[in-house]
């Protein structure tokens, strides 16, 4: 099994609004959007725990995986 490649990207759309934070105090929220684009299928994930998003995306073999950086 090879490691998933992580690619750092400038920006990704938000799927979670800040007003939702208080409804998920344990961070158990993952939201996935699947879109058909001109070049294929785009799978976008957002969540309050990055680990959960990555587990979901890895389970459906998203590779490489784009992510934003902090700062």
């Amino acid at each position: 099994m090879t490691a998933i490649q992580h690619v750092f990207t400038e920006s990704l759309p938000d799927l979670i609004d800040a007003s939702e934070y208080s409804r998920y105090p344990d961070g158990a929220l993952v939201r996935i959007r699947i879109s058909v684009t001109d070049t294929g299928v785009e799978i976008l994930g957002d969540g309050l725990r990055p680990e959960f998003i990555e587990q979901v995306l890895a389970a459906i073999s998203v590779d490489p995986m784009e992510q934003m950086l902090c700062g």
Binding site: F8, T9, Y21, L69, G71
Partner: protein, 338 residues
């Protein structure tokens, strides 16, 4: 797939002989004494046959984003920043979201990334975009050589840093920097050392030295459970900032569970509300929360007449009515690098 070429090492600043072929690196307060072939705590500076060399003259990530993302709220609101980052950090923070680039040399999840930086090209690209140059994502203070070369092209340079840098390095680097945003991740030595692997004292020293040198300073504190999130911890941090300058903007960051702290809970918005009140209660004039508290948390108001001066959406400025560095309503001096 081609093999990763790995880092390219080049002569580094802040190295001095330490006897018997060893070299002392005086860039950060660890002041590592390195035997031939040995790398420092940071893993990106090493003794190569008696010469200190660095791997940080590197562009692994180059992104053009808003200055508000660093975050800087009192530096050219609405400006873009061309951010350059290579692998490496002097800290090993348990919560680091950027560990895949910052923890190079410590964690197999952070492979080498990048090629030698080309300062003239980076500066030209920033200038063409009307942008500042930024160094962020990993630890910029580990790249003094690149910082100075970027600054030599006339585009202002900003850092998002852990502040773990020595007085002698600051004296050389401060003239090259427009602004620094420094993380204060804990209120006490034991908590800071547990979280980061490094002492807190030098971070405060760096903040004071950059501020005294005329570099614009903003401070960020992530509300980390068991480390910084408790009200008494936030009060201690806010009081220390206020003792330096009440004009220093304080950014309270929502903790996102990740890396070795993936099992903790995220910061509740109520804790950020409390933290903001604590900061203002300690006398700080500008305490910001980017997202969780809505526009009220990220807008800039005049401390004297409460006129809303800088309106922000998430990670971007909407409009700014500060004129000549003053509030147009009452003339209050708004300190920053506008």
């Amino acid at each position: 797939m081609t093999a990763d070429p790995g880092p390219q090492w080049r002569p580094a600043m802040f190295g001095e002989p330490a006897g018997s072929g060893r070299v002392r690196c005086t860039l950060c307060p660890f002041r590592c004494v390195l035997a031939d072939g040995q790398a420092g705590v940071c893993k990106v500076r090493r003794n190569d046959a008696g010469t200190l060399r660095t791997a940080t003259y590197t562009a692994g990530v180059v992104h053009l984003t808003a200055v508000e993302r660093k975050p800087f709220y009192h530096v050219r609101p609405g400006a873009q920043v061309l951010t350059v980052a290579g692998p490496g950090c002097s800290f090993r923070c348990d919560y680091c979201i950027n560990y895949r680039i910052s923890q190079y040399g410590r964690d197999d999840a952070a492979p080498w990334l990048g090629e030698p930086a080309l300062p003239a090209e980076l500066a030209a690209r920033a200038a063409a975009a009307g942008a500042l140059l930024g160094m962020s994502y990993s630890e910029p203070s580990l790249a003094p050589e690149l910082t100075l070369d970027l600054a030599s092209h006339g585009v202002p340079v900003v850092w998002k840093s852990n502040g773990y840098v020595t007085a002698e390095a600051i004296s050389v680097l401060a003239p090259a920097l427009l602004a620094v945003n420094i993380d204060v991740k804990a209120a006490d030595e034991a908590s800071h050392r547990r979280l980061t692997g490094a002492s807190l004292g030098p971070v405060w020293n760096a903040i004071e030295r950059f501020h005294a040198a005329g570099v614009w300073v903003e401070i960020s504190t992530p509300l980390i459970p068991g480390t910084s999130a408790a009200p008494e911890s936030l009060r201690a941090i806010a009081a220390r900032i206020a003792s330096i300058d009440v004009n220093i903007p304080w950014h309270l960051l929502r903790f996102t569970p990740d890396y070795r702290l993936a099992g903790a809970d995220p910061t509740p918005p109520s804790a950020l509300t409390i933290g903001r009140s604590i900061g203002l209660d300690c006398g700080l004039l500008y305490v910001y929360v980017e997202r969780a508290l809505g526009p009220a948390g990220r807008n800039t108001a005049c401390p004297q007449c409460q006129t809303q001066l800088v309106h922000r959406d998430v990670w971007q400025m909407v409009h700014n009515v500060i004129k000549g560095g003053r509030c147009p309503g009452c003339g209050f001096l708004m300190v920053g690098r506008w």
